[in-house]
């Protein structure tokens, strides 16, 4: 398998985790912790995770280790825990922007929440998915499409690109 093929397969897998309930097109939060809480509440509401308090703690601790904002208006908060039953991706968009301590100082408009079960077998795919998301949003045209996307199919198509 070539590098491009591996990236595409990873993109297909990660896009498959995104369900309509995990798409928040207009996030209300204005700061990082509120944004994480809003995302976790949304996925907990459809029973995608148990113990939302524990997940929020994992995400907050990851932010303490270093911001998950990668610049150009994008953040990829992520974490692994045994209270996550299966891999999960949620996507949120903020029209007004969220302060996220980004390296370039820009507010964040596109947020991907990536969660995985804590199992040795899930570690590598999870890290590959994180890398794949970062590759996708590195392209300005993909970020623009994500900011304008009206539906989940468009978001999925960008992730698989």
């Amino acid at each position: 398998m070539t590098h491009d093929e591996a990236g595409s397969a990873s993109g297909t897998r990660v896009a498959g985790f995104l369900t309509p309930e995990h798409f928040l097109p207009d996030l209300r939060a204005v700061n990082r912790l509120e944004a994480l809480r809003e995302l976790v509440d949304a996925v907990a509401a459809v029973r995608s995770i148990r113990e939302p308090g524990g997940i929020l703690r994992v995400l907050r601790d990851r932010e303490t280790l270093g911001t998950t904002a990668i610049g150009k208006g994008v953040a990829i908060p992520h974490g692994r825990s045994l209270v996550v039953a299966r891999p999960l991706l949620a996507f949120a968009r903020s029209q007004h922007g969220v302060a996220w301590d980004a390296p370039d100082g820009e507010d964040v408009h596109l947020i991907f929440l990536l969660l995985a079960p804590d199992a040795p077998s899930s570690r590598t795919p999870y890290l590959e998915q994180l890398a794949q998301l970062a590759r996708v949003v590195a392209l300005a045209r993909n970020r623009n499409r994500l900011r304008l996307a009206h539906d989940l199919d468009t978001v999925r198509a960008v992730l698989m690109s």
Partner: protein
């Protein structure tokens, strides 16, 4: 955020394990390289270690010692229980082994592999 004082012992152990795994990730060369490529940088390692010390100090020494011994042995001390099965060794638990009450200061360990059980 839920204060540490309101968590029962199993939840504190889970918190500790999540912190330990994150600290381990932060020291793993492969993970750091990948984070770096994605544009993510580690800056709060010492702060996380401080948090780890705070959580550890809130756990009874007897239980903390057990946790640390199992973590060293298996790389994880807590394992989930699903449908009456320990997901560490995949052995069905005896019917008498049930989740401790929410307020309990006790923990249950798998009789087969010795890992601490966490009901989800």
């Amino acid at each position: 955020m839920t204060p540490l004082s309101t968590l029962n012992v199993a939840q504190r152990l889970l918190y500790l394990q999540d912190l330990d795994l994150l600290l381990k990730d932060a020291q793993d060369v492969g993970t750091r390289e990948l984070w770096h490529k994605a544009g993510l940088h580690v800056s709060g390692f010492a702060q996380l270690q401080q948090m780890r010390a705070e959580v550890a100090s809130s756990i009874a020494p007897r239980i903390l010692d057990l946790y640390e011994r199992i973590f060293r042995r298996y790389g994880r001390a807590l394992v989930p229980v699903r449908e009456g099965t320990c997901l560490g060794c995949f052995v069905k638990l005896p019917s008498g082994v049930t989740s401790p009450s929410v307020a309990s200061d006790e923990i249950s360990a798998c009789q087969s592999c010795g890992r601490i059980l966490y009901w989800i």
